[in-house]
């Protein structure tokens, strides 16, 4: 015979102001199994918890119902209190008299009291079927994977490594560094971006705890927190990176020059290349689309007639350590990790959707990131800002904000957060490069919300003389060798036309290509803009709904360098909390299959959002089988199971039916 104790909470006046708590106490006192009823102003307070502990010991309670707030708030509190008194914590149930009752029925005290009575009755009916449950230990692989080698991923990897744990950093490009490596200077301090980033990149390469896999991509992920199995494809570089010394002869002498992705096609690179001089690792890869020898081989293999393309192989002939490896192939490796940090970063929005700005049509209309390359000393113009059309230095430069941002029709609804500040930075840096440059910045709202940002923005106006015009530009068109920018200064309410030498578009920040695929592999969500979704936007900003998977950098939402670094460190901290344990404690409230009842229809496999159900053969029959490590106890399988063969521990069919039946008695 169970002995149920019912503990009614007033929650200050949150509950008792609406619900007549003494009346609830009287109504439930004589329910079957109830042997003890108590009230407290704050059940969650230490005296409240002590009352629970004391009642368990003194009255020999075998079940506890706490009627207070949402279990999301205090289930852990009361389970812990019960455990301290020697009761299995899963023999505690809560009835939610606050969120489900007093708060939503504040205008009808009588009905609220009746509902409160029913909520407690339900919990009491349910709890007699509760069984003691014991959490299962989950083994922990004390090794982390970081996906993406931009500043956020670099920071996460360095922090995890600094704590003494092994970490693998996977980057799909041939170097780490990401978007920050493309920047000339960073706001608001105007640090040279490479100068502050390169030491961190080198540290990644040299840290013995970090395994760096560049030119590699994650192909599949299985398993769960503590033991993710990740398949990584290492793309063939056609260069033996062990032999290669990074001397640079190959990329200097390679005759096949193609537009450089790193310079956003504003400069050229060879077909065997490193993306930029400070690349890490300083080892080249062969671009198999453009390499002449590859083309030659393809021609030979096709058996086509006609003139053969040149064999070239100049790199091979000149390479001192003979590092070219033409028959190298992609390599797939599978490794095990306890936790994963996703730091896939961002791409700039493609401004060609705005025909009115002529991006791609007029060479002197460029994006902010392209201007970074023109400003950079290691960029295609060696830091001399020149118009792509005629190579002359621009004197009048017009910046257009929100290109793709804050536009629900043709772009994105959100603010891209970094543009206002980098426009100010560009105005300041352009003025430093050439005092004759006059910048005009069309903005809608000048958003300068970080530390030192407003002051920096003032500097652009006061010191660099940038003219800020509040309004969005309608059109850019060529006239008499200039680009005419048509806007409105909405503060004075007049149309403005500026004949510019160069127009810079502050293209929106969008999630990096392929981030959604990574999300699907990891079973984490992404929003309608394909940004990855955090477990809670305020209180769990780097966690996801998949245990052991954390987010860093701009894959969550647009963010600048300081924020990327913070998010990288935060994700590392969360990762370290896991890696510091030998084993993890798994929730015991998982699905369980009654193999005798299971018909093997496998509907549960289809609906399981965590891929936790597979099949096994029991006595010659195929039946469902639950992986307790992956199961989150959501109950979808139970809901679709026609023979009622799957139940969830802690929410069994018996418990649910008892709750429903209690409402009719």
């Amino acid at each position: 015979m169970v002995k149920v104790g019912v503990f009614l909470c007033h929650c200050g006046r949150n509950i008792s102001e609406v619900v007549d708590v003494p009346r609830v106490a009287e109504a439930v006192r004589h329910l079957p199994g109830v042997t003890y009823v108590d009230e407290n102003k704050y059940m969650c307070s230490e005296p409240g918890q002590a009352a629970i502990r004391q009642a368990i010991t003194e009255h020999g309670l075998t079940r506890v119902v706490v009627a207070s707030c949402s279990p999301r708030m205090h289930e852990i509190t009361f389970r812990r209190a019960a455990a301290q008194a020697g009761l299995n914590p899963y023999l505690v149930e809560m009835a939610n008299l606050r969120e489900h009752c007093s708060w939503v029925h504040a205008d009808d005290h009588e009905a609220a009291t009746l509902k409160a009575i029913e909520l407690v009755k339900k919990a009491v009916a349910r709890i007699s079927y509760n069984e003691p449950l014991t959490p299962q230990p989950i083994p922990m692989t004390r090794r982390a994977l970081v996906i993406g080698g931009g500043i956020a991923g670099i920071q996460a990897a360095l922090d995890i490594a600094a704590a003494g744990h092994q970490v693998t950093l996977v980057e799909r490009e041939s170097t780490i560094g990401g978007r920050m490596a493309q920047l000339d200077k960073t706001f608001p301090t105007l640090d040279c971006s490479s100068c502050i980033l390169t030491p961190k990149m080198v540290e990644v390469a040299q840290n013995p705890n970090i395994e760096l896999l560049t030119y590699s991509e994650v192909e599949s992920v299985s398993g769960f927190v503590g033991s993710f199995e990740v398949q990584i494809r290492k793309r063939a570089t056609l260069v033996d990176h062990v032999k290669c010394t990074g001397c640079g002869i190959c990329w200097e002498k390679c005759p096949e020059k193609v537009p450089s992705e790193f310079d956003l096609a504003r400069g050229k690179r060879s077909s065997i290349y490193i993306p930029f001089p400070q690349a890490v690792p300083v080892k080249p890869v062969v671009d198999q689309v453009h390499c002449r020898y590859i083309k030659y081989q393809e021609f030979e293999a096709s058996g086509a007639e006609g003139k053969k393309p040149p064999q070239c192989r100049i790199c091979e002939k000149l390479c001192p350590p003979q590092a070219l490896a033409w028959d190298q192939e992609d390599e797939a490796v599978t490794e095990k990790f306890g936790a994963i940090v996703v730091a896939t970063g961002y791409d700039p929005f493609d401004p060609t959707v705005y025909g009115e700005f002529g991006y791609g049509q007029y060479p002197d209309v460029i994006t902010g990131l392209e201007l970074e390359r023109l400003l950079s000393a290691s960029g295609p113009t060696e830091g001399h800002v020149l118009r792509p059309s005629d190579g002359t230095p621009p004197k009048t430069v017009v910046f257009l904000s929100c290109i793709g941002s804050r536009d629900e029709e043709r772009g994105k609804a959100y603010c891209s957060q970094i543009c206002c500040m980098y426009m100010a930075k560009h105005a300041i840096v352009l003025k430093e490069h050439d005092p004759e440059v006059q910048s005009y910045i069309f903005y809608i709202d000048n958003r300068a919300v970080g530390k030192g940002y407003e002051e920096f923005s003032r500097r652009a106006q006061e010191d660099a003389g940038a003219v800020y015009l509040r309004g969005r530009v309608a059109k850019v068109f060529p006239q008499d060798g200039k680009l005419v920018v048509m806007g409105e200064d909405s503060l004075i309410g007049r149309q403005v036309e500026i004949a510019a030498d160069m127009v810079v578009l502050a293209a929106a920040v969008v999630p990096s290509r392929g981030a959604d695929e990574v999300a699907r592999m990891l079973n984490i969500s992404y929003d309608s803009d394909h940004f990855l979704v955090e477990a809670h936007p305020k209180l769990r900003p780097v966690e996801t709904h998949t245990d052991g998977v954390f987010l860093a950098g701009a894959c969550v939402s647009p963010c600048d360098v300081p924020q990327s670094v913070s998010r990288g460190s935060a994700a590392a901290a969360k990762t370290l909390a896991l890696l510091s344990k030998e084993t993890l404690v798994g929730e015991p409230t998982t699905a369980v299959v009654d193999a005798l009842r299971c018909s093997g229809c496998q509907l549960c496999l289809e609906v399981c959002p965590f891929n936790a159900i597979s099949t096994q053969v029991v006595a010659g029959r195929t039946v469902a089988s639950v992986n307790e490590g992956l199961c989150k106890g959501c109950g979808l399988c139970s809901a679709v199971c026609r023979p009622a063969a799957i139940g969830v521990k802690g929410s069994t069919h018996k418990q649910l039916l008892a709750e429903v039946a209690s409402l009719w008695t």
Binding site: E356, C402, R406, D407, E408, E409, R410, G411, I444, R470, G471, R472, V473, A474, K475, M486, G487, E488, D489, S490, G493, Q495, V496
Partner: protein
Amino acid sequence: MQSVIPTSGFRVEVERESGEVISRCYQCGKCTAGCPAAFAMDGGPRWLLRAVQLGMRSEALDSTTIWMCLFCSACHARCPAGIDIPRVLETVRHISLKERRPPASKEVALFHRIFLGQVAGLGRVHELGLGGTYNLRSGHPLANIGLVPRMLARRKLPLLPYRKKVRWFKRLLSEEKKSGD
């Protein structure tokens, strides 16, 4: 300068008649920036949407902005909030007409009145008649006059109109006019 006391009644009125959600406008100014007629307007489309948002009823109804719109829809095509701005301007013009307020552009209002009169009376527009009537009634008898002999010489202006009264349209026009009373 007189201070504005923001009210919402006018916005609700315009939103109801136009079907456009004016509060979606966040005043980015892209409409006015590319408006080919803005130079001839007092406030321009962005200003008009703001006036509607703030409930500046008489300023909006008496503005030249609602009369100078060319209905080229460049603003609508580019509006990041997808607002059919010409529809809003047209709606404010309709309210202004219904209230029999003196139009801020007599010329444009007169032109449209004569135009629709021709449609009702003749069935089709007769350009020479339209121009002549407009010039006489607008007090600009010599407007565009230089073009007339050159157009006549190239037989661009037929002398006689098509004539077929459109009674149902005439009735519709007068009913619409009465609806403002």
